[in-house]
C-alpha cells in the first residue's frame, strides 16, 4: 500500500512537471507575443515606426530575450519555488492574481458540481424507482435535453434574460461594488447572488448525463439478488433505498465526480468570461488576449494540477469508498 502510494505520488509530480513543460512550450508556439502586442499598441498611439523599433530594441536590451532553453530553466526553477513570475499586462505577481481569483472559481466549480451530482442522484434514483412511468419518460427527456445544451449557450440565455432583460440577477462581478470584502452577512449574500447564474449554467447542463447514469445504475442494482433478499429479510424500505440501492448505484459515479471537478475548472474560461466573473478563467482569457505568458502559464498550471490531483484523490480514496477495490495498480481512474 505504501509502495503504491509512493509510486502514485511520484507519478503525480511527474505529470505536473510534464504539464508545466508542455504549457511552457505550447504557449511559445502561439503566434505573436508581448512585444508584438506592445508594438501594435505603440503604433496605434501614432508613434513613428523608427521610434517604435528603437523602443522595442531598448526594451529588449534591458531584458534581453533569452534563448528558449534559458527561459525554460529559469521558469521551471521559479515555478518549483512557488514563484509564477510577474504578469506583463497587469504588472502584478501572478501568485497574487491567482490568490485573488482561485477562491471564486473553486467556489463556483465545487458548488455547481456538488449540486449537479446531488440533483442527478436524486432524480436518477426517482426515475429508476418509477421506471417506465410518465414521470420517468418526462424526466428522461428533460435529461437528454439538458445534456445536449452546451453550458455556454445556457449561460448566454441566462445572462441575457435574467441579467439584462428582467434584471433580477447581476450580470457580472463576484460581489456588489458597494459591499466590503469581509466575512459578513451582506458579503455572503452578495457573493451568493452573483454566483447563482454561473452555478446554474454548469449545474443544469451537467445534470442530465449524470442523472441518466444514476438511473441506469439504480435499475441494475434494483434487479440484484441481494436487494430481493434484503426485502425478504424484512429490512425497512428506507434502509434498502440508501444502504443497498443508493450506495451501490452511486459508487461507480464517484471517480467521475472528482474528474468533473477538474474538467469544470477548465470550463470556467468561457463561463467567467460570459458572466464577467473575475476568477481563474476570467484572468486566463485576459492573459491569452494580452499574450501575457506568465499569467497564462500560471492559470494553465492551476487548472491542470487540479485535474491531476482530482484523479489522484479518486484513486487513493476509491478503496475507502468501495471495499471491493483494494488500492493497487490496476484500478486507477487514469
Amino acid at each position: 500500500m505504501s509502495h503504491y502510494l509512493a509510486k502514485r505520488t511520484a507519478r503525480v509530480l511527474f505529470t505536473v512537471y510534464l504539464v508545466a513543460t508542455f504549457t511552457f512550450g505550447m504557449i511559445r508556439l502561439l503566434p505573436g507575443g508581448p512585444l508584438t502586442t506592445l508594438r501594435v499598441k505603440l503604433a496605434r498611439q501614432g508613434m513613428d515606426p523608427d521610434q517604435i523599433n528603437a523602443y522595442i530594441e531598448n526594451y529588449q536590451n534591458i531584458r534581453p530575450d533569452a534563448t528558449l532553453l534559458e527561459q525554460y530553466q529559469s521558469y521551471m526553477l521559479s515555478v518549483a519555488g512557488g514563484d509564477l513570475g510577474r504578469s506583463i499586462s497587469l504588472d502584478e505577481p501572478v501568485t497574487n492574481i491567482l490568490a485573488e481569483a482561485v477562491p471564486w472559481t473553486v467556489f463556483v466549480v465545487v458548488v455547481s458540481t456538488v449540486l449537479m451530482f446531488a440533483f442527478a442522484v436524486l432524480f436518477g434514483a426517482m426515475m429508476a424507482y418509477w421506471e417506465g412511468s410518465r414521470f420517468d419518460q418526462a424526466l428522461t427527456g428533460v435529461s437528454i435535453l439538458s445534456a445536449s445544451v452546451p453550458f455556454y449557450v445556457l449561460a448566454l440565455l441566462l445572462v441575457y434574460f435574467l441579467g439584462y432583460q428582467y434584471q433580477v440577477l447581476p450580470t457580472g462581478g463576484t460581489t456588489g461594488l458597494a459591499v466590503e470584502k469581509e466575512l459578513s452577512v451582506p458579503f455572503v449574500m452578495s457573493a451568493l447572488e452573483h454566483a447563482i447564474l454561473p452555478v446554474a449554467s454548469f449545474t443544469i447542463t451537467g445534470m442530465g448525463v449524470q442523472a441518466l447514469a444514476m438511473r441506469g445504475n439504480s435499475i441494475q442494482v434494483l434487479g440484484e439478488d441481494y436487494v430481493r433478499v434484503a426485502r425478504l429479510r424484512g429490512l425497512a424500505d428506507r434502509r434498502i433505498a440508501t444502504r443497498y440501492v443508493g450506495r451501490n448505484a452511486i459508487l461507480p459515479m464517484y471517480t467521475g465526480f472528482l474528474l468533473l471537478l477538474g474538467f469544470n475548472l477548465g470550463g470556467t474560461i468561457i463561463l467567467e468570461r460570459i458572466f464577467s466573473y473575475p476568477g481563474l478563467g476570467f484572468y486566463m482569457f485576459k492573459a491569452l488576449k494580452a499574450r501575457d505568458y506568465p499569467l497564462m502559464m500560471g492559470t494553465f498550471l492551476v487548472i491542470t494540477v487540479a485535474l491531476v490531483v482530482g484523479a489522484y484523490v479518486a484513486d487513493l480514496t476509491y478503496s475507502k469508498v468501495d471495499p471491493r477495490i483494494s488500492s493497487g495498480g490496476s484500478n486507477e481512474a487514469y
Partner: protein
Amino acid sequence: MTASHSSTATSAVDASDTILELRNASVTYDDGESYVLDDVSIDIERNEIIGIVGESGSGKSMLASALLDAIPDPGLLSGEVSYYPEGGERVDVLDLDGASLKELRWEEVSMVFQGAMSSFNPTMKVRGHFEETLDAHDADRTAGMARARELLEDLYLDPQRVLDSYPHELSGGMQQRALIALSLVLEPDVLVMDEPTAALDLLMQRSILVLLEKLQEKYDLTMVFITHDLPLVASLADRLAVMYAFELVEVGPTEEILGHASHPYTRALLNATPNLDAPLEEMEAIEGSSPAPVNVPEGCSFRPRCPLADESCRVDAPEHSTVVDDHSVACHHWEDSAGEIPLNYAPDGGTSADVDADGGTPDGMDADGSRGGGER
C-alpha cells in the same frame, strides 16, 4: 396426494404434523396467459427434509418463492398457502398484511437463495447483514449475534473472521454457509433452500449437505431443498417431489421414488442420471425438451416425450393417484411405467437400489452411487 401419510415415512417425521401446506397454488404472468406454477398442492411435514427435483425452468424456484409469498413482480400467486406454527392456529400466508408477512418471513420460514455470491450486499460486511436483520425484526442484538456466532461455528466457519469480512473476501462455499447462518439467525422453523449448492464444486456440495443434516437435527428444522440434482438430494431428503412443466408429477418417500418410481418422467430422469454402477451406454437422455410456460401441451404436459402416451393423455390432464401409502403420481399409465421403462441402475422391485441403501448415514454422499469413488 393429500391422502393419509402413513407411519412408514422416515421415523423423524410425525405422520400428520403438517407445517406448510400448499393448495392449488398457481403463479401466472402476462395476465394469466402463462403459468409458471400450475395448480400445485403439497404438504410439508414438520421436521422433514423434502427434496423438490426438476430440470431448469420447471417451476422449482417459483414453488420456493410461493412458500414465502415472495413471487417476483409482476407474477400473480393464487391458491392457498397455510403455515401451522407449533401448537398454534393456522396462518393464511397469502392473507397476511405487511407487518405479519415480515414476521413470517425469516422468523418462521426462511430462505436461502440460489447463488450466495449475489445474496450479500457487496459494500457491507457480513456482520452488518446479521445486525440489520436482527434490528429489522426487533430482536435482541447481543443474543442474536451470539446465536450467529454459534451458527457460523456449527457450519465450520471462524465467526470472528467471517463477520469482519466483506462478502467478496470469502470463498463461494464460505459465502454459502454464511448465508445459511444468516437465514437461521432468527430461529425459523422452516428453511427453504433454492439450489443452495448449484454454484459449488462437488467437495463443497458434499460438506454442505453433511452440515445441513447436522443443523436440521440440532435446530429441529423443516427443510425444503430445491435442486435439479436428483442424486444429490436423494442422499439427504426424507421425501422427494418431482416437478415437470410447472406441476408436481410424483411425490413420495425417497426410497419409494428411487426404487419404485411410477411416473414415466421420473423413471426417465433416473435413467438419465450419471451413475457409476450403470454402464455409460445405458445412460439415456430424455428425447425432446421441456415446454416453455407459453405453450404447455394440452392434457398431460409430458405426453409429447412419453413412450406410454395415448389418446387419454392428450385429452385429460392426469390427477394424482396413490401408488402406495404416501406415494402419489400424476399419470394415467403409472401401473405400466415400470414395465415400459426399466431402470438402468437396479432391477425394479428387487432389493432396494444402492442409491438409497444407506440414505441415512451422516456422510450423505455415500448414499449416492454416482458420486462415490471419484472424490477420494
